[in-house]
Symmetry: C3
Subunit: 681 residues, 3 copies
């Protein structure tokens, strides 16, 4: 790999040569080099530029740019242009368009209006990718390839006629026999029994904006399958032509995509597009939201779950904004550096800013780059230069990994099920938010770990002292077997209400609850209910700590000799009954909590399980600061990030080296607003 | 009739044999009998089960179930399955589908997506109903038939092509001559004059989401006519085959249906589906709403206006919830008993719980029955058993009627007019809410009485001391004649603002207001206005009581020698002018109030007309408790229902018999949370 | 001209002979004359009446009415009926219908559902207009013609197939070469490059409800062009037939119309439909909105910018209200007089009330006229009569013009750009509201002046001491040249943030900002940003006054020797840096303010520029009263209007004549609620 290869941390920028007069190119590339930028990404929306009319290809424009870049020593990531089909394509082949749930087509004028399922679109994509890959595969300026741009951004649901046809093929492969599908989906309910495959459609308009929930769950799986097949279609072509050391990636993280599969099938590593300034979006700003731009650390944690080391293809360098929505202020001095370091703290080894100059036209003309419309020198360019200087002092971090002892288990089955099931999403959304916020505020680094398709081994799980699997409504024997082994081997597993009541089709199980989790948790659930709105908050008590069993309450009973009641409901219909059970299982422990996890609940669990603040012996810092650690070999690097607009104080409890200055530091230190420190610990 | 026949109060349950393995049937039926359930309703969504492919019928599955039920001594209510057409039907005949106002079809995946007007759907319905009725009409397990399921639930508006065609036929029958229609609808306004019947459609998309208001009014009448014709189509077939003692019913109460007509043409009695737990729905819960589940007493009062004794086909026994909406907590201990007694207090003689076991799949997999997915014994089953025991002590109530001395007059003309007219609905909604709340809180039993089509005789009206007809914008001579006779004979009639300003087409009359009500009320209205929002509340004074003339104000003047000013505006534009007039008319009195009735207004009227708390001499109870009385012959039974989650105290002012215990009680009594008492008084 | 001709101020009324039996006509006309009404407008929705079937014309009905009117001495304004096509027309030619952005047609049932672009509709309009104009052009009762009714009311966007075709023609005329269009719209962005004109559409449904912003800007220009062409099509026909002294007008002011062009091409003067009672609309009432009905003075100021003297075709005389929306109370006693005088104060010389009797049917049956449904005498009729008496004392004002020394510059380029650009609208909406409110509250009369198409000369601008051009994002050299001349000649120009960053296509300029305004303002803008939501309000200080630089902040630097920093940011990212610059330019001054203008900002600018309260030496009055002055020759007439529901006190600092009473007044005077005074000063 030419970047994200463990040997360096590099800077890049997104560039649009087609937006500017050629006389500016040379000046631009020189200025990039001057501030430490050595890589550009180009051409992700340039289909029309390359194929102005169907079947007419012309690479002279990009030839000229690539040759100039090569002469200047600028490396290039070249994109397939499929994120936005040309007008001629969608006019000639409207079946390539995506549609809304009523079947109304999305026309040109925005982007990502195509569907993955149309055979015409697949064919046209095949041709343009083959043309570009064969033309530039061996070009010396090229170092890697981006597939499409932000799969599933703007729209992650597909309702075209082509999609219904593809959905049927997907289901035929999965179920083979229509009777199996009828059974899996419970179509006996409300007369939905299918008598031929042709009667099946992707979700359509219904009387109540509601379709069969098991169809809905398979539909999300279908979307992910479509995206992954489409990415692989492109990657397989590029692999035929690219230089061995060149990489294939794509950018962004969006819904309804199994990225672990994509990383395995099509990518060398994932790139992320990081826009933490959305935390200050004018229309969505809430004073009470303490986390703001720090929520992006959650996204970066998700990216790490795909590629331990990754790149940022688009790192925010200016204000957000289409002409119609998403207005934000410009980054304030210090924030470009802060957000860059936020990315690196989580494992990014390549940072590419979006974008060099701000485009003077089109829907994204307010999506500001480093430079404004005039291209004049400005504060943001100065900050990028400064950031480049800092990064040069940190090159030894390249290839090091984020360090965590707490894990949160996830799987796409439950994620997608909760998208169509409010009983599921109501508990999950509360717990996921609270877990992130409290782990962050207690400076407890954590990972997300995806369990789908046997991707994770027992050895991986054993690296974690504690695993939260908050509301795994859908459980499988395979996953439970591994978790039982994890606990047996000494691990601590924490599960919350609504665990284990569904099967892989999203149907409720008829076993006593929590179903497959009964054994490891030593718990039986004779009754359950949403917390009645006139009784909330419903509290539990555990060793003198009182906190909420949010949203939903399972009534618990310990079963088996090793289960003990740790906490009790103190209000609501189950007052006096068990609310938390700990089961000794092998050398470890499994906890079952009868509610969803609010912030207080997470805090108590972290304390009682003794995993909070693992670096508390060497540093104390306010909860408004993030702490992250990357490690490689026997070295560990500690990031401290201040997201506030005012200075804060941190205390180093022993001497450690400030990587940026090379000096040793200790004791009380003022961290300026938006300030960052990186220490070798 | 085999239930609701005046001889017993019975328990039943909704059951779905097709959702469970046959090996569970016997166990289920035995357990039902064990808790006192002797009747099951089946097959309301089983079209596909009976006719898996067009024209192929197979009753073996239900034969087997019915034979088992008969052997066990379980009685069966069998349903026509037309609420949800099979996939093959709507795929083959899309003209059977309902559509939204833009013409977009509602596809399969939810329920009730058909339209009543399609001749294909009518034909297919005819066939399946004839098949089932002829097959099971004489089966000894059968005791009655349910038509369809919840007519107009999910959707009470119809916009298909078939509906426009049927709407034209409806209008041709009504108006005969197109000129008559043009005149009735005032089509001269905005160039809407029709030159042929084919130019008329059900409401369609317009520039302002607004169509001719007189068309809109006739459209609601058309919907009701469609539903009623469709119900009669089915009932007429069943009548040919059923045993004489078997009944025909349908379930639920929804909008745009004249149920009195349906009861007369097609039903033996109406069944209601009572889900008071919606009062605790998570997304619609308002702490400030004092009435919560008690609002369902209003619905039950509406049901009584159709069938004085009725059944509950679906009585809530578990949490509500689709996978996409309507989440509620599970009923709390005591609430199943409470809500069952609420139904009985209003006249229910049959209670069928929804449903036995909770379905493990489909959109309603969270619509919980008595039992959860596993079928294990639980608190709800215990409470159903207990409720059955209580009901066994109350069998002498069977056939007794709810007792009331206050009536609220209604008619579908005004109800449907207010659906399309905000000047109408703004006053009506305020008054209807306040009347219900205050009558409930003052423990003043009341009835709704529907005046349409001469269904009510003067003798019926004379049973009431006071009749409220709060905002009868549309009046007819026929109705006013009867009301004049009622007042002449000594009755008290109370009318509010906006009375009498419209004709049956919903057009404003050019007579002086209140039009046809001028004579009985002795009132003239020279001016009127909405209450200006910068002047609200606008108050009136009546004998020292001050209360609001809400929403709208008529300026009043007494006319004729018998009219006297009882109340005066004390603020707003009409300050100092008359606001309440009482007219002595024959041996009775008519009141005209210039505003809408807020809660204070209702309270003062009830006090000044001396009809509040008719049972105040024998019981005092907090306003949080409902009081209801059923009477038969010379016996009266008093229900006291505590809807609160805490105990309250009531005082019996003389000795009376507690029906459940058989013991005499008196004085101060603690009524436990959600507690109920039934006394013979 | 027969009205609005500088010789009298006249009263009229809107009348619908087709809504009433002919026997009422004579009575109605006599009663009109009795209260001082001499003109009626008729027939604006009477297409069907004249052409009941395609090609069958019948004027006998209106002949009869016009002859009666002529005999009675009532003058008639006759309308073209094109605002609402007959049912037969849209049924036969659905291509005449407008559609929503998804292409769904708007059907009959409401009004204004046609599109201007359909050649069929244009042809049918041509025919009916020619028929009416030729039939009545010489009728002695006729004094003028109204084109259509309320162009663009209900809907100001057009998405029919006919509109896409017309849009292409409009663009071909404008750009000639498709390459020019591609360049102007920046279609290189997101692959929107057009390869044929047929690929272009009016905005359609897209993935993100967002189309190319430059297309969107041209689309608004296209709509205005369509309306203007359509109006001219009608006016040109009428001009062929009408009597020379008869006028052509249209009524209302709605969006996406260049009215100055319409006034020049098609009208003798504009009429406005004034409904200040919307300030009390039940659904939109906000206690905190101080201005309520006084906002209509802003609309009247816009009308004056088209026709210095104008008419009110529809002056509110009763409650607003369709059956589905827009409920208001009835005008309170005094408000009809107040709102009539509000219109006259701003330049109206003709007042026609909407409407005589209230229609008893149709969507607008609650849009009350002077009389209610019965036609009985009422308070509103008495007030109209009283108003007529007042107006008779004011005839010397006829033809006098509103007097102002402050101007606010506008142009449709910026207005329409801000409709599709939230960065533009966010600043503009705040400043426009604050300017109006504070100018009103400080009793500082002002004009709007439209700069489009060289319509305004330097001489016109020189009449103003101060010109605000708050956020002219789009600037042209032509406009800047004139403004530079204005300032050079001694004028004061005030510009706010975001000035000059766009060209006429709505693309951002690459020059240093504020672009073309750099020279006159002596200002450079190195950086800019929305005010960060966690830092608002961001304040500036100017000579000890502290106020907000709202919404957006430009960082300023003075350039050239004549620029000086007047104000400084005192918080936010630019704290300490210049926020207000004054540039001496020729004999005048230009100010650049780095933010949007909140109310405090406007107040400080007015004070520091010494233009507030120009009549402060002769009158003091509370800010709740409006002050307006009309002048003719050496005479000036001062209006004082009290919008409150309570009396206020004003003080005349010298003696002046009350026009209504003819008496001289001085000192402290009580102005009753909703009271008005007109003084000769």
């Amino acid at each position: 790999m030419r970047i994200v290869n463990g040997s360096s941390i590099d800077l890049g920028v997104c560039y649009y040569p087609e937006h500017w007069e050629k006389r500016l190119w040379e000046e631009d590339l020189d200025r990039m080099l001057d501030v430490g930028i050595q890589t550009v990404r180009i051409a992700e929306f340039a289909w029309n530029f390359i194929e102005p009319r169907e079947g007419e290809f012309d690479y002279r424009f990009f030839d000229e740019f690539l040759d100039l870049a090569y002469r200047k020593g600028i490396k290039v990531i070249f994109c397939t242009p499929t994120a936005t089909p040309p007008v001629w394509l969608t006019e000639n082949y409207p079946e390539t368009l995506n549609a809304d749930i009523e079947g109304n087509l999305y026309y040109h004028g925005s982007r990502r209006h195509y569907n993955y399922s149309s055979s015409v679109y697949q064919e046209k994509s095949r041709i343009i990718v083959e043309k570009s890959a064969s033309h530039y595969g061996q070009h010396p300026a090229i170092i890697g390839w981006q597939l499409d741009n932000e799969f599933n951004c703007e729209n992650d649901r597909f309702y075209s006629v082509s999609d219904s046809a593809a959905f049927r093929r997907f289901l035929q492969e999965k179920y083979d026999d229509l009777e199996e599908l009828n059974k899996a989906w419970g179509t006996v309910f409300w007369n939905q029994t299918y008598t031929s495959w042709e009667e099946i459609y992707v979700p359509r308009k219904t009387n109540t904006d509601s379709v069969n929930p098991h169809l809905a769950l398979d539909y999300f799986r279908f979307i992910s399958d479509s995206v992954n097949r489409y990415a692989k279609l492109q990657a397989d072509i590029i692999k035929k032509y690219k230089k061995p050391e060149d990489f294939i990636t794509t950018n962004g993280m969006f819904r309804n995509i199994d990225y672990q599969r994509m990383a395995k099938e099509s990518l060398d590593f994932l790139m992320y597009d990081s826009y933490p300034n959305f935390g200050y979006e004018l229309d969505n700003y809430h004073e009470a939201d303490f986390m703001k731009d720090r929520w992006w650390s959650r996204n970066l944690t998700e990216v790490r779950a795909v590629s331990a080391n990754f790149g940022i293809m688009e790192q925010q360098s200016g204000a957000c904004g289409w002409n119609t929505r998403m207005e934000t202020p410009s980054p304030r001095p210090g924030q470009i550096l802060l957000w860059t370091m936020q990315s690196i703290a989580h494992g990014a080894d390549y940072i590419s800013y979006f974008r060099w100059r701000t485009c003077t036209f089109g829907t994204e003309m307010y999506w500001h780059g480093i430079l404004d419309y005039s291209g004049r020198e400005n504060q943001r360019l100065r900050e990028v230069r400064l950031t480049g200087e800092k990064i040069r002092t940190m090159q030894e971090l390249a290839g090091s990994k984020y360090v965590a002892k707490v894990g949160i288990l996830k799987d796409y089955d439950n994620i997608w099920d909760s998208q169509q099931d409010r009983w599921h999403s109501r508990v999950d959304s509360v717990s996921q938010d609270a877990l992130f916020v409290v782990l962050q505020q207690t400076h407890t680094p954590f990972d997300y770990i995806y369990l789908d398709n046997n991707r994770v081994t027992l050895e991986v799980l054993k690296q974690y002292e504690v695993l939260f699997y908050p509301h795994a409504s859908i459980l499988t024997e395979e996953r439970m077997n591994m978790l039982e082994q994890y606990v047996s081997a000494g691990g601590k597993l924490v599960m919350g209400c609504r665990t284990g009541y569904k099967d892989l089709y999203g149907r409720c199980v008829t076993e006593y609850l929590p179903g497959l989790a009964t054994k490891v948790t030593g718990t039986d659930i004779p009754e359950y209910s949403f917390a009645a709105p006139d009784e909330t908050p419903i509290n539990v008590e555990w060793d003198g700590s009182k906190f909420e069993a949010a949203v939903f309450n399972d009534l618990l009973e310990p079963i088996g000799g090793m289960a003990e009641v740790m906490g009790t409901y103190v209000s609501g219909r189950y007052a006096g009954a068990p609310a938390i059970i700990r089961n000794h299982f092998g050398r470890g422990e499994a906890f079952y909590f009868g509610g969803a996890f609010g912030e207080d609940a997470v805090r108590v669990f972290l304390e009682n399980l003794d995993v909070a603040e693992p670096f508390g012996d060497i540093i104390s810092l306010p909860k408004s600061c993030e702490l992250a650690v990357r490690g490689k070999g026997d070295k560990q690097y500690m990031f401290v990030l201040n997201y506030l607009k005012n200075p804060v104080y941190i205390t180093l409890k022993r001497e450690m080296k400030n990587l940026w200055t090379g000096e040793m530091e200790q004791s009380r230190i003022e961290l300026e607003k938006y300030g960052v420190r990186v220490y070798l610990i």
